[in-house]
């Protein structure tokens, strides 16, 4: 039953095109975000693993 329904959908070839578009748009969006992202935010995120040790004796080497 389902098989007939799927094979009978008209313009089924549009689906691969839609998925390609989703794919391309997503990656373009991601790269734009990565280029434009706020430096302060990135620094904050980078430091996160070290925030659980308030009294880190050596201190973490900021590079």
């Amino acid at each position: 039953m389902k098989k007939e329904i799927l094979s009978s959908i008209e313009n089924i070839e549009i689906y691969p095109i839609i998925s390609l578009l989703i794919f391309v748009i997503f990656f373009v969006g991601m790269f734009i975000w990565v280029i434009k992202v706020d430096k302060k935010y990135v620094d904050h995120m980078k430091e996160m693993p070290f925030n659980d040790e308030p009294q880190n004796p050596e201190g973490n080497e900021k590079v």
């Binding site: 799927l6 990565v34 995120m45 996160m48 659980d52 080497e61």
Partner: protein, 710 residues
């Protein structure tokens, strides 16, 4: 912070300790079973003379123990330590944490019991039968709820990239596990796959590949992004790269499954998709590796002295090596040589021993002194462990590469007269026997190193004092106020549930596009009119074949190469597998392909070969199965099996379940009589008769008429 009150809370170290101990305990058992399996490949007597410890059954025991027990517990230990600290809150519910812990150990124990007993679905890395599958789903969801609950209660606004990897792993494994395990139960211990033949193969390798991706890779990448900076005491090289790494990896990974089925009867378009996405995966994988290694820039002096960093460097390098090798193996021309050989075994062990094993060791060496508030008992011992492990990996992998190339080239070699140069499969196996010995030595070395870890950890714990709860404080999370100009990603990533849904969509796109058409569009599986359902006796024989794990060494998929059609016969066609639930194509040929085994030898040959393989094939490495001729097979469940298969659409005539056992007896008596004329006395009710019935049926249907593959 002036003007804000700090909230007090504590991190639960006890659960981390338990998961850590479970990691090591199961790790040792899993590796020990691995060494036993490796030994059986050059010394069949090492099967200890019973079905429970024979290769076909302990191979899945080894893979399950190492993947789900060793690596699984390591993931949980790593997450239960890092996630609360990154979110500034304990895990959501302690009782749930313990339910997760004991539930997972129970699943492992059930696997340790059922797999040697032969209760298996035979689908690689998803062998456990349906009641255990349901338990896995429940425990896994408990783990997910615990994580998402912690996210909702967090005191840190943003989610560090490690947590993205944890979340994506959780949702993807849930989706994969549920869809791949769909089956219709016959009884408490037996079920038939909801998919058949080609479709079952596609779903299985969509699962199998992504089990590697989302159980062995993404959770560990999350752990890498937390523990590597911690151990090196410097932040990750590029946070931006880690974001690109995350999204590209989860977007691409899910598509690559069909590369396990190149040159098989899988539709061509699905094979092409698998290859293309596998090649693309190289970019994010290497991006991740580079990000990990460059985190150590300027700290390489520490690598010289710190065993934790030594383990991590080799782990990340091994990740890079196996993710380079993966796309390489997905190229059709490389795959033509490497598939079914020990190359794949080497490849997974670079990943397993190098990436997962070494990273786990590094994490444990780092966690133990932290949680016991002390220093590592012996750096020297840890360094010795490191070198034993590294040598172990080399002794394991290098002989496997040599074995793979040697054997593959022997399979494909033709004489000047146009005949196979090595028509006897066994010749190609005996040739690589020394390599199998070296491999077992490598495994043993690696295992011995792990014992040093145990000693070192026990001593470390003894010299320190365990801190079950670790106090911390942080301001409560303020309700969010929208800032103008905020980018979408930052906003999404603040909303964990929305983020989880987004990650799910990313992985679902690939799965849906690949799998749904293959299952729904009729033209993908051309039917062959002469292919008929198995007779009741053959079905029983097939279930025995499944239960003994024969698929671990024998493929049933002849690829369309001259070297294969010469050796085995006509290549396999998609339409031949429509009644195969589950599919039994296999992924490794330690013995020859069996798809055209039917009618090749007389029944008595199979009898003697099963009782003592060396009597028919001198030098054979196949373990003997003498119990098949004395074990009486209970056929009471045949009617239930027939009814289950009818529900799945296998066209047995209506009411056939009532007649099935009568037909079975007729066929069994015929085979027993046939054996008697050859001088073999065997009961018609014996397992041997059922297995012979199945083997003699294999691949014979298309010989009844001419078949074509469109």
């Amino acid at each position: 912070m002036p003007g804000t009150t700090l909230e007090q809370f504590s991190y639960d170290n006890k659960i981390v300790k338990y998961f850590g101990v479970a990691t090591i305990a199961w790790g040792l058992i899993g590796m020990l079973v691995g060494v036993l399996a490796a030994t059986q490949l050059f010394l069949p007597e090492a099967n200890l003379g019973n079905p429970y410890t024979t290769f076909g059954r302990i191979r899945p025991l080894h893979t399950n123990a190492v993947i789900f027990a060793f690596v699984g517990n390591a993931i949980f230990a790593g997450i239960y330590y890092s996630m609360p600290r990154l979110l500034k809150t304990p895990m959501w519910n302690k009782a749930l944490s313990w339910f997760h812990f004991w539930g997972w150990q129970l699943i492992i124990i059930l696997a340790v019991i059922t797999l040697p007993l032969g209760f298996t679905s035979s689908k690689e890395y998803a062998e456990l039968e349906w009641p255990i599958d349901i338990l896995i789903a429940i425990v896994w969801v408990a783990f997910g709820v615990n994580m998402i609950g912690a996210l909702i209660k967090r005191r840190e606004k943003h989610m560090y990239v490690a947590i993205w990897f944890y979340l994506a792993s959780f949702v993807t494994v849930a989706v994969l596990h549920i869809f791949n395990s769909l089956a219709l139960p016959v009884s408490f211990f037996k079920s038939y796959s909801a998919y058949a033949g080609v479709q079952d193969a596609l779903v299985q390798w969509w699962y199998g590949h992504n089990a590697v991706a989302f159980f062995l890779t993404t959770p560990f990448l999350g752990l890498m992004y937390y523990y590597l900076p911690k151990a090196a005491n410097r932040p990750v090289y590029s946070y931006k790269l880690s974001i690109v790494h995350f999204w590209s990896l989860i977007f691409l990974y899910i598509w690559a499954g069909p590369h396990h089925l190149l040159y098989t009867a899988l539709p061509e378009w699905a094979q092409v998709l698998g290859t293309v996405f596998s090649i693309m995966l190289l970019a994010p994988s290497w991006g991740g590796m580079v990000n990990g290694l460059l985190t150590l820039r300027g700290a390489w002096d520490k690598v010289r002295v710190d065993p934790v960093l030594k383990f991590m460097v080799v782990a990340v390098t091994a990740y890079g090596m196996s993710t380079f090798e993966g796309p390489l193996l997905s190229l059709k021309n490389v795959n033509a040589i490497a598939h079914y050989t020990d190359w794949i075994v080497a490849h997974v062990h670079i990943g397993g021993l190098g990436w997962n094993g070494f990273f786990t060791f590094a994490m444990l060496y780092w966690l133990w002194p932290k949680m016991w508030k002390t220093t590592l008992y012996s750096t020297k011992l840890a360094t010795t462990h490191f070198w034993m492990g590294t040598m172990g990996i080399l002794f394991y992998a290098l002989p496997m590469y040599v074995a793979a190339l040697t054997q593959s080239l022997m399979w494909k070699e033709f004489t000047e007269a146009g005949r196979l140069a090595y028509p006897n499969f066994l010749e190609t196996v005996i040739q690589i026997k020394p390599m199998y010995m070296l491999r077992a030595f490598g495994g043993l070395l690696y295992l011995s190193g792990a014992f040093l870890l145990v000693y070192n950890m026990v001593k470390t714990a003894k010299q320190g004092s365990f801190m079950a709860e670790e106090q911390d404080e942080a301001p409560a999370l303020k309700p969010h106020v929208d800032e103008p100009g905020e980018f979408w990603h930052k906003a999404w990533e603040r909303k964990p549930i929305f983020f989880t849904i987004l990650a799910t969509i990313a992985i679902l796109i690939g799965g849906v596009i690949e799998i749904v058409p293959t299952i729904l569009v009729k033209s993908n599986v051309p039917t062959i009119s002469s292919v008929m359902p198995y007779t009741p006796l053959e079905l029983q024989g097939r279930d025995l074949y499944i239960s003994h794990g024969c698929v671990g060494c024998h493929s049933q998929m002849i690829r369309p190469f001259r070297s294969e059609t010469e050796r085995y016969g006509e290549y396999s066609k998609a339409g031949e597998f429509v009644y195969d639930r589950p599919f039994l194509w296999g992924s490794k040929r330690t013995g020859p392909d069996l798809h055209r085994e039917g009618g090749k030898y007389p029944d008595s040959w199979h009898y003697y070969h099963m009782v003592d393989p060396t009597s028919m094939s001198p030098g054979s490495l196949m373990p003997p199965y003498p119990w098949l001729s004395t074990n009486i097979m209970d056929h009471d469940d045949v009617p239930a099996k027939i009814r289950t298969l009818q529900k799945l659409g296998v066209p047995y005539p209506e009411g056939y379940d009532a007649q099935a056992n009568a037909d079975l007896t007729i066929q069994a008596n015929k085979i027993a009589a046939n054996l008697k004329t050859a001088g073999v006395e065997v009961m018609p009710e014996s397992e041997m008769v059922a297995l012979i019935a199945y083997l003699q049926r294999l691949g014979t249907d298309i010989k009844k008429t001419t078949a074509s593959n469109p």
